[in-house]
């Protein structure tokens, strides 16, 4: 905001009120956020020219500014709410035009009809890769390929990381949640430079996922082997279970057996899968006399055969 207001509008300090308005209008038509939906750079620029204009368009304020009595940021307008903020939402439905998709081939009957428009645009860059063609001796740069090993939890939950390339330069990489080993991330324009006006190539980062001692992944489900004690198995109770998003409490029913699998809904990858908890009844490290005596007595009157069905079948 420290920039000179006249240069923001691209006019001379001696410009007439009319010239200032003309310059502002020309820029506003180009940069107004409602004429550039989805473009935040234009919005920033527009804010600058608007606040410059709000001072220079006002004879008193312009005088104050010229005399150094107020600075360039002297006049902050209240945050404007643009139509585009509503246009994609439910309130904008009635204004969104669904006319004219007859030229869309097999999909023409789908458009203007099917999608009712949800929340925000996914994936930021809708800007494409710039102009086609360009100067005659221009050529896009080569893609550069890299491999990056990341931890299991980083792959599942997503993360941002800075990688250092063989040439010593660094690259900021956003790992999307749920990435799987072998998946390739494409970083636009981060490859080798182009020739002439040709755009740079992309960096292709192939992701490797290191195994985790506790978690394994099956599709969107996370599988965990959970040791439980003899008393927990017999009496049931709440046990603490690690998940990819931290520990949770899980109820084990009385009489749980090894191999039994409990499902923690929505605790899988990106909330899409579940966490499957395989119980594993684990004996105490030493079987003491108390336990031995108790089981011996118990067995006299409560013996059972867990292999009964097995014997019938084989």
């Amino acid at each position: 905001m420290a920039e000179d207001l006249y240069s923001v509008l691209g006019v001379a300090k001696t410009a007439s009120a009319d010239e200032i308005t003309k310059a502002y209008r020309k820029l506003a038509k180009k940069l107004h956020p409602d004429l550039n939906p989805g473009d935040t750079a234009a919005e920033e620029k527009f804010k600058e020219i608007s606040s410059a204009y709000s001072i220079l368009n006002d004879e008193d304020k312009r005088g104050q500014y010229d005399r150094g009595e107020i600075d360039a940021s002297g006049q902050e307008r209240p945050e404007a709410r643009y139509y585009r903020e509503y246009a994609g939402g439910p309130e904008g439905t009635r204004y969104r035009s669904s006319a004219g998709y007859e030229d869309m081939g097999d999909f023409s009957d789908l458009f203007g009809d099917m999608f009712s428009g949800g929340a925000g645009m996914h994936g930021a860059g809708m800007h494409g890769r710039g102009q086609r063609g360009g100067a005659r001796f221009s050529m896009p740069g080569q893609d550069a390929q890299y491999h990056l090993d990341i931890g299991f939890l980083d792959a599942v939950n997503g993360t941002k990381t800075r990688i250092t390339l063989p040439d010593g330069s660094t690259l900021d990489v956003t790992i999307p949640p749920g990435v799987t080993g072998g998946q390739v991330l494409r970083l636009k324009g981060k490859g080798h430079p182009g020739l002439g006006k040709g755009p740079p190539g992309d960096a292709l980062v192939e992701v490797g996922v290191k195994p985790h001692p506790v978690f394994t992944r099956e599709g969107n489900d996370i599988v965990v082997d959970l040791p439980i004690s003899l008393d927990e198995a017999v009496l049931g109770g709440k046990v603490e279970v690690p998940t990819i998003a931290g520990k949770v409490a899980m109820t084990v029913r009385p009489g749980a057996s090894s191999g039994q699998t409990l499902r923690l809904k929505g605790r899988g990858v990106k909330g899409k899968g579940d966490q499957l908890v395989k119980l594993n009844v684990t004996m105490p490290e030493t079987i003491d006399d108390d336990l031995k005596r108790f089981i011996e007595e118990w067995k006299q009157t409560h013996a059972y055969d867990p292999r009964r069905t097995m014997k019938e079948q084989a």
Binding site: Y86, G88, G92, G112, G118
Partner: protein, 113 residues
């Protein structure tokens, strides 16, 4: 729901007469009222932002009154398109990773000509 008065109070240089012109031109479509209703038409926050945009186009940017319906129609078409595109992107994103990658690659290839 906002009333005519609310809208006029919150948009500089907007008068009731001017707002009614916008409505009669179909540039703003307040919540419909049936003939038997006594309540005045209600405006949404989107209608408010839209009224501000129209004033902005005419007053600050100096567009001609006759141009504004054309501009709004184009803006509405863009939002219609963006909404379709968003829906399309959501559908593609829900596809299995291999299919998604194929779609991406095809689009990139196409762009390069």
């Amino acid at each position: 729901m906002l009333t005519e008065e609310d809208i006029v109070a919150r948009v500089s240089r907007l008068t009731v007469t001017r707002l009614r012109v916008f409505v009669s031109q179909g540039l703003i479509k307040p919540e419909a009222v049936r003939p038997e209703d006594v309540a005045p038409p209600g405006y949404s926050e989107a209608d408010l932002a839209r009224a501000a945009l129209i004033c902005n186009l005419e007053d600050e940017m100096g567009f001609n009154e006759d141009d504004v319906p054309v501009l709004l129609s184009l803006i509405d078409q863009i939002h219609g398109l963006r909404s379709e595109l968003r829906g399309f992107v959501e559908v593609v994103e829900a596809l299995p990773p291999e299919v998604r990658t194929t779609v991406r690659l095809r689009i990139e290839q196409r762009r390069r000509g």
